[in-house]
Symmetry: D2
Subunit: 155 residues, 4 copies
Amino acid sequence: MTNYLIPLPPNEMAPYGAEGHWPFGYVDKVRFHELDPLQHVNNKVYFSWFETIRIRYLDALGLYGTDPTLPRIVVKSVSSDFRREMVLGEDYLVTARTASFRSTSFRMEYAVWAGDLRTTGDAVVVFLEPDGSAKRALPDDLKQRFVEVDGATSN
Amino acid sequence: MTNYLIPLPPNEMAPYGAEGHWPFGYVDKVRFHELDPLQHVNNKVYFSWFETIRIRYLDALGLYGTDPTLPRIVVKSVSSDFRREMVLGEDYLVTARTASFRSTSFRMEYAVWAGDLRTTGDAVVVFLEPDGSAKRALPDDLKQRFVEVDGATSN
Amino acid sequence: MTNYLIPLPPNEMAPYGAEGHWPFGYVDKVRFHELDPLQHVNNKVYFSWFETIRIRYLDALGLYGTDPTLPRIVVKSVSSDFRREMVLGEDYLVTARTASFRSTSFRMEYAVWAGDLRTTGDAVVVFLEPDGSAKRALPDDLKQRFVEVDGATSN
Amino acid sequence: MTNYLIPLPPNEMAPYGAEGHWPFGYVDKVRFHELDPLQHVNNKVYFSWFETIRIRYLDALGLYGTDPTLPRIVVKSVSSDFRREMVLGEDYLVTARTASFRSTSFRMEYAVWAGDLRTTGDAVVVFLEPDGSAKRALPDDLKQRFVEVDGATSN
């Protein structure tokens, strides 16, 4: 009933000014509770948006849930770079992709578009055994998908 | 490009199980950052949703903005009653209406629907002079709209 | 090393203007992320403060933790009344008490003090069986403590 | 009445396991609302803590307030690296320093300590003219303080 968080085809990304290869996206609108005393979106809020799309992305890959055989998925580090502020009521698109991977981790990139590019970010995501005792290798079919769908590189 | 926060006609409210007269609504989906350690939507989050629709409602009434002649609008009190918990990914509808008004204040009611009624709430909203020095009377056309569109009663 | 959330004796409450019988309190200072675009503490934030002291209060009563025999504790409803706004850097005291109880629930009251009374609130807290299947009776020693320490009444 | 956000001398930092030169710090305790469904402090929360100490630090430098001659202070980018999770009720110390500066910006570093090092982070902070029209040079006495108190380097 809503297109919230449904992956968007490229022609739906264009109106937001999105450029480049982004296989996953969702659209939303800036809300009052995301503003700080400077009347713009507070910088912490972008990490909420990146988390929202990351969880949805992991879910689409079958990696989010209560199945006890799933890896424990941990965010190791995040960063964000703020290009231009956002204000109340702006319509925006958040996009995500996996840019690169190693044997037990991968790095996602995020971007926020609202006519032009407003914010970029990334997160390094690590696979652990369900009990957290050791790192777990990314399965081959996941790495293949990262390459084929997201255009990721092994490094 | 998204129907987020656009007032919904009754036939779009029905799929969420909404009942009664609600002239204003928006649809959304539960996100990870709205969950608490009990794996459900934290009770504070409903007040964010009520705030989101209240600001949008005030904006639709021409009452939100930087025009210096607008009243200062203050929330005097809020409450919420939690019927049934919500979990990650649920689609929901938030509805709002003004239920009653006095000379310088009005009481809004809110509800959250996701197949059935999950949460209700209200807020008492007060009009002040822009400098906060005194209460300001609600204009007659606003009271008329509350009666005609929202079905509000004077009390 | 910090007196954060340690219950305060009455003589430590006086500097904040607290009046009445409040057996439990903690002190803190308003932070930037608690402000909204109106440059004051957003009304949702008071519910965070009430939640913080409620969890600490439940923990002090031995009711918070992972022991599987503990009741599942559910907040049924909350409300808050805003007397006077708070701004960045203000030192404040949050106080809590159980005001009344029934067979399977109790009502807590909260207040925020910063020289004078800024905000009041309450929450109705319900005991369920650990699996959520039915309500659970409050134990007699808990009701006795509510009466003797908090001054609560049965209703 | 509380030592919240009061800069701490080195001997008060030692109990938290803090190492290195950190001229500014505050202590606090993990709250329920900072936890996510994984029962630990959500990664976004560390940016709240870094924001809290950054605002307090700017205030201590006379750079936070409503004086119209003050620069507009903008966060250009942030990052954080998560070493070990934190759970409800843990006492912690947040520390901050300016590590380096350029002509119109400086880079702050942050750390969270709770017996051992839990999280590190940084932020690049830019000075603009009050109307946002151009970058503003850092004054010489500020750069001198960064060098002498924080041990910062020019780069």
